[in-house]
């Protein structure tokens, strides 16, 4: 029983429900417990590389810090004892509580998101959306096309840089390349649109009609999916209880 095997649609719904629930909790303990609990569940029921997890976490740590000081400096006026002054704003203990809640919420959201992202194969997610979520095959297969489109896009981009170089555009550093990128968006898009038309024609030529079809990969729903989902909901229940108490 791991989060990797869990049905992606059910996992998606569970994680989204938890995040919505968190949005209505205004005490610092609930997001803290959810954050720690998610890490515990992730340790128990998945094999996620913590190094990768840490790398993904860094930007959100920054966001959490930004949220913390924004809600301290620009916090609304609340009653309560003034604890200290920050850039001319009286910070009450209520403000500190709210600021802690919001920044911990960022961390809890991120932990839940990473639990989903790091254990979900995008292809299985789309298959599962099609099989359990009744997603239109027309859209599902277009997403696959889109996903397979990345190498083509990269090639086109390289080609454009080379064409521009042939015409005498000098790009020395990496920064030059980035600065030059906006000039490439129109030719890149125009090329991609032409490609899209060709891909659509070849899909039709191979008999793709957009009707539901048999697939090799069947994403099942098992009892374990509900077990893992209830563990996550249980975590939310406990965290709410801790917060309200």
């Amino acid at each position: 029983m791991t989060f990797h095997e869990m049905n992606p649609t059910i996992k998606f719904l569970t994680v989204t429900c938890l995040m919505f629930g968190l949005a209505f909790m205004y005490n610092p303990w609930t997001p803290l417990v959810v954050f720690l609990g998610t890490l515990a569940l992730q340790t128990l029921f998945s094999a996620v590389s913590w190094r990768r997890w840490g790398l993904f976490m860094i930007p959100f740590l920054l966001t959490a810090l930004g949220t913390l000081w924004t809600s301290l400096v620009f916090g609304k006026q609340t009653s309560g004892d003034v604890m200290f002054k920050l850039f001319g704003n009286d910070v009450t203990d209520e403000n500190v509580r709210l600021a802690a809640t919001l920044s911990l919420r960022v961390l809890a959201f991120t932990a839940l998101s990473l639990l989903f992202t790091l254990t979900t194969d995008p292809k299985r997610f789309v298959y599962s959306l099609m099989q359990q979520g009744k997603l239109s095959p027309k859209i599902a297969y277009s997403v696959f096309v889109g996903f397979r489109f990345f190498p083509i896009l990269k090639n086109e981009l390289m080609q454009l840089y080379e064409t521009h170089a042939l015409r005498g555009v000098r790009l020395e550093t990496r920064l030059d390349h980035i600065r030059h990128a906006p000039k490439l968006i129109i030719p890149l898009l125009a090329g991609s649109i032409r490609q899209a038309e060709r891909i659509a024609f070849s899909m039709e030529a191979r008999g793709f009609t957009g009707e539901p079809r048999a697939t090799y990969e069947v994403v099942a729903v098992t009892r374990n999916d509900f077990l893992l989902a209830s563990l996550l909901f249980l975590l939310f229940g406990v965290s709410t209880w801790v917060g309200v108490r």
């Binding site: 994680v15 989204t16 995040m19 949005a23 209505f24 205004y26 993904f56 976490m57 930007p59 959100f60 920054l62 966001t63 810090l65 930004g66 949220t67 924004t70 809600s71 620009f74 916090g75 609304k76 006026q77 403000n95 709210l98 809640t101 919001l102 919420r105 959201f109 991120t110 839940l112 998101s113 990473l114 989903f116 992202t117 995008p122 997610f125 027309k138 859209i139 277009s142 997403v143 096309v145 889109g146 996903f147 489109f149 896009l153 968006i185 129109i186 030719p187 890149l188 898009l189 125009a190 090329g191 991609s192 649109i193 899209a196 038309e197 891909i199 659509a200 899909m203 793709f208 957009g210």
Partner: protein, 191 residues
Amino acid sequence: MLKSWKLKEIVLLSILSVVFAVVYLAFVHIGNLWAGLIGPIAYEWIFGIWFIVSIIAAYIIRRPGAAFLSEVLAATIEMMIGNAIGPRIILVGIIQGLGAEAAFALTGYRRYDLWVLMLAGFGAAVTSFAYTYVMGGLTALSPTYVATMFALRATSGMLIAGLGGKLLSDLLLRTGALEGYALARQGRIHG
């Protein structure tokens, strides 16, 4: 809804979503760097970037659902290529897409003038701000600060997504790549 769509329109939608998913992700990182310094308001003035695919897709394809679907697809693909916001980004895409779609629905999917496109950018700003308000806990901030955030986001939505989306699509039209899509056909009828 999708019955009347041609396959090539759906594939175009998906390819546009892919290209803009990359752009979106790049700006998430730019926004994140800022946000650490100046807080969540860092995202507001560039927020229109994240609505732009809705406007471009609707303007080119001109079918009900184009604004909504393109935004949701872009969000989904953004998640697949590594936006750590993860599943929440799909929700954000759905909400932003609905806001933009509403503007086109209001005009009965008949008008695609600049003001409608800007209204779509504004619509996406409204719905996405409502989402931020709840999920980001903006009730904790002072009303003036929240109002400033919204004003910035709405302006950004109208200018970057609405005006910017139109300019970009019109440039694309001039390359001739859009022959066979509604935008090019409309152009021929009217001028």
